[in-house]
Symmetry: C2
Subunit: 389 residues, 2 copies
């Protein structure tokens, strides 16, 4: 075989994606050959857009690179690009075709950025705590309830642990677990893989069997205007010391908790109720728990902290008596990625201020990760074992 033919054959094999070591991403829809992840975690994306003038890959987050990348058009009308090595974990992305933001038909969609967005799972070598293993599995249930606060039917997801259906008389503690801005009640179960994390922790007896409830962090009272991806006034519940009762706080306290305690075999005292959230959800979890310490005794803030904390006054002065607070709150947990630069500083400032005031809190740092789902999977994996012990 002469050299020209060999090169042509090699190119042909490359164009079929067969000559390299790449495989379709696990987040692809059934049978889709692109996107493909290479063994060094470079990713090849492909999109059919025969009449387009310009197609770009838009990484929505840092995991696939920080900037849009122009794709190259082939004679077959397909545009392709191969990125540098991607960060392990889950990353949102989309394409831009002549100014239009476009999802990848080869990938599943995931609710993030206030819309259904493409996402890709990049494998993490040697790590399996969030993968399905041959252990007993809990169910992840869509639970519908009527909210008096909003006047609307709402869907919460409820994880029941593997033994729930077999132990008809056992009652379980409950963790309320919230998503971040632009996401919704589906995030933890899909992007977060929380069911597999809990299944694996429970199988290894690292975490107590518990019910986990994930609601939508957006809520508007009747007549309030909802914005795309947003809720009514004060929906985010960000920041410390607020005295505004958000619609979401009322949903949780007056609608969701009663519905869960009526529908599932829960332990209903404060000793057996925790709340955590990520990013926007961390603000909501902090605000709701701090304002209702008669109902919660474990608190988790993932990629979020209490800014400018003043132990004497923040959250209505609930921490002013450190000894009393420490007795009530069995865990105040801050989790974040070490690549979340600004947040690393503020979280440690908060932790130090609390320490000086004699208030116990824990900081977990996820090595090398940013404001992304891999941080939050690790947070849950670290947080859940500390609950209800």
């Amino acid at each position: 075989m002469n050299r020209a033919i060999a090169v042509a054959l090699f190119s042909c094999l490359l164009c079929l994606g067969q000559a390299d070591d790449s495989t379709p991403a696990s987040s692809n829809v059934r049978g889709a050959q692109y996107p493909r992840v290479h063994s060094d975690l470079r990713v090849t994306f492909r999109l059919k857009a025969p009449d387009a003038k310009m197609v770009k890959l838009h990484p929505a987050g840092d995991g696939l690179g920080k900037a849009d990348v122009e794709m190259m058009k082939g004679a077959d009308g397909f545009w392709t690009v191969t990125t540098g090595p991607a960060a392990p974990g889950f990353h949102y992305y989309w394409f831009n075709v002549d100014g239009a933001d476009v999802n990848d038909p080869g990938s599943e969609t995931f609710f993030g950025w206030a819309k259904q967005s493409s996402g890709i799972e990049i494998p993490e070598k040697g790590v399996d705590y969030y993968l399905p293993k041959d252990v007993p599995h809990g169910d992840l249930r869509a639970h519908w309830y009527l909210s008096k606060t909003t006047g609307l039917w709402r869907r919460a997801y409820v994880y029941t642990p593997p033994d729930y259906d077999r132990s008809a008389r056992v009652r379980y503690p409950v963790l309320y677990l919230q998503h971040g801005a632009g996401e919704d009640e589906r995030g933890w179960g899909i992007q977060g893989k929380m069911n597999f994390i809990m299944d694996n922790l429970i199988a290894e007896k690292k975490a107590k069997p518990m019910i986990v409830v994930m609601d939508c962090g957006y809520a508007s009272r009747p007549g309030e205007q909802a914005t795309q991806g947003g809720g009514g006034r004060g929906a985010s519940g960000r920041g410390g010391g607020q005295n505004v009762v958000t619609a979401f706080e009322d949903v949780v306290m007056k609608d969701l908790i009663p519905s869960i305690d009526t529908s599932y075999r829960t332990l209903t005292d404060r000793e057996h109720r925790a709340m955590a959230g990520l990013s926007m959800g961390s603000g909501q979890a902090l605000q709701i728990t701090m304002r209702h310490l008669d109902r919660f005794s474990y608190i988790g803030a993932f990629s979020g902290t209490i800014r400018n904390v003043d132990p004497k006054t923040t959250y209505g002065g609930v921490m002013a008596d450190a000894a009393a607070f420490n007795k009530k709150v069995h865990l105040l947990f801050f989790g974040l990625g070490t690549a979340e630069d600004a947040l690393m500083k503020t979280t440690h400032e908060t932790h130090d201020t609390l320490e000086k005031a004699g208030i116990h809190s824990v900081v977990y740092e996820s090595p090398g990760t940013a404001h992304e789902w891999l941080t939050w999977r690790r947070d849950l994996n670290e947080f859940a074992p500390r609950l209800f012990q």
Copy 2:
């Protein structure tokens, strides 16, 4: 106010979508203002694509029109179109931007056409059997199980009726319910609204409380190649009288049913097990039940029939003794939309041939609907009350 100013103001209000009687579709993502449904069921779509040469609306099905429609570009870079009155129910659609198929960021996505596709819910006046009402609600659970047939973890959805968690000793009959080609195990719970249909039927005591199991109709044995949206050889199970054991049949009989009967409080005898499916799923339901009448006693084929049925030989001659078959099979149900022209003919041919052979079957015709989810919602609403009575 002079006429020119009045017209200008009116146009401006129109462009804001405020002067007409349209409202955002219920299938929009939170807060998205487009697509909008008018009171006469015309729909206005909008997409931002400032640099595109051509943008078209592609109705994927007949409900929004039969052909692609060119959209008009405004000075603001948004392309818009208003369709004629749409058919009530659920319709897939997408846009085409310079040759690229593009989802609508304003709509939820739904797994159909072997990818995540945009979809829109068009309201059906005076009809509420598939809407959430103030009745007890069952849970819709994601249930993970390891399939020996495929070697992979699979997700099935399991509807447990409203009283399931409160009646720790009651066991329930089970309906296995399959989606169509290009869809997956999510279809019935999302596009089909099966949980609300069952909640409402059970609340009105029209249907017996039952468990409903929805699996993915695609399965490949290890080493078999899966195609996008497709499964291995013989995945569809279409047509009558086949003697091929598909991977999906093995998944249902050897993996799924044992997992469900182990995990849930089911009644496990044939008198309390039904199977139905739509389109591709109707072929699967017919083939699997007919080959395993020792395990099933109720059969539903939605938008699918037994083509060229020969009562003496089809499905290995299981209907050859009509009296014995009628005694075994309490219901053989064919449901379809009257707008499914070719299928109307073949379904009635099959029904007539069976009647002449003394074999009982029921045909339900959904008035005016095509090969679409509104047909299948109605099918379920007609089929479920006839089960386990």
